[in-house]
Symmetry: C2
Amino acid sequence: MNAPASMIRLTTQRQIILEELSKVTSHPTASELYDMVRKRLPRIGLGTVYRNLELMAESGMILKIEVGGTQKRFDATTDEHYHIRCSVCGRVDDIDVPVVKELVAQAKESSAYMIQGHHVEFTGICSDCQKKQH
Amino acid sequence: MNAPASMIRLTTQRQIILEELSKVTSHPTASELYDMVRKRLPRIGLGTVYRNLELMAESGMILKIEVGGTQKRFDATTDEHYHIRCSVCGRVDDIDVPVVKELVAQAKESSAYMIQGHHVEFTGICSDCQKKQH
DNA sequence: TTACTAAATGATAATCATCATCAATTAACA
DNA sequence: TGTTAATTGATGATGATTATCATTTAGTAA
């Protein structure tokens, strides 16, 4: 009855991209991940990294973070949480602030949009950049 | 004693960019603003629009919004408030949900970052896009 | 195991948003 | 009205991302 589902293959590239992303607690950009992955797969193309990150984000395996800054970032942790971005170096980390569920309820009342979700992004200066500013 | 402050001129371009931005409640991108301004100043360059939006954002006259999506957006309203972005068309609007001041306090406790601020971005489907999805 | 086929890759070019450069123009003021 | 530095418009450069396409390969069936 269903149209034949397109087959999603388990390729070396995909596995290693996911492994490398899972190793770090920071939230690398596509090209940072490209550099990390290339140490193990020197012939991989940047396009493959972009393609797979996009694919994994769509399927919910990873999280695509579109915050301030020019590049998208990726996160292997998919449960709902907030982020903090360094305004100096652009680094993004998870932040352990409890998710405010009421925000969505409030938004539903005060907007004609059909609300899907929310995200909180804190801005600050990371400890590395604080040190460098002597 | 001070170095001579660089003179900031009141040009036609700047005035009209600010006027057009103030006219709308949406949050146009630089190129949307370019189209709006060009109806009154057909010879204006896109670079001028970018330059002035950046300048006005730096001086605090307007707000530069770096949310999801690929383009930066601008807002003539500068007091602290949250935004909602349509996941279909990318449109961004203000949303009337009270600012949660406690979030920053909580963030300060649970992070090594020097916290500067926060922003909440809701995601949803705007009424126009709801209609179009028959 | 081998052969088949659609999915995926790597290389490359194309696109899009933004920024930089620079000669020509113009706002502010003496 | 003339001077001068700030600004403009035109254009090119850059950086991130996406599209294209011939080649390779994972998954499956013989």
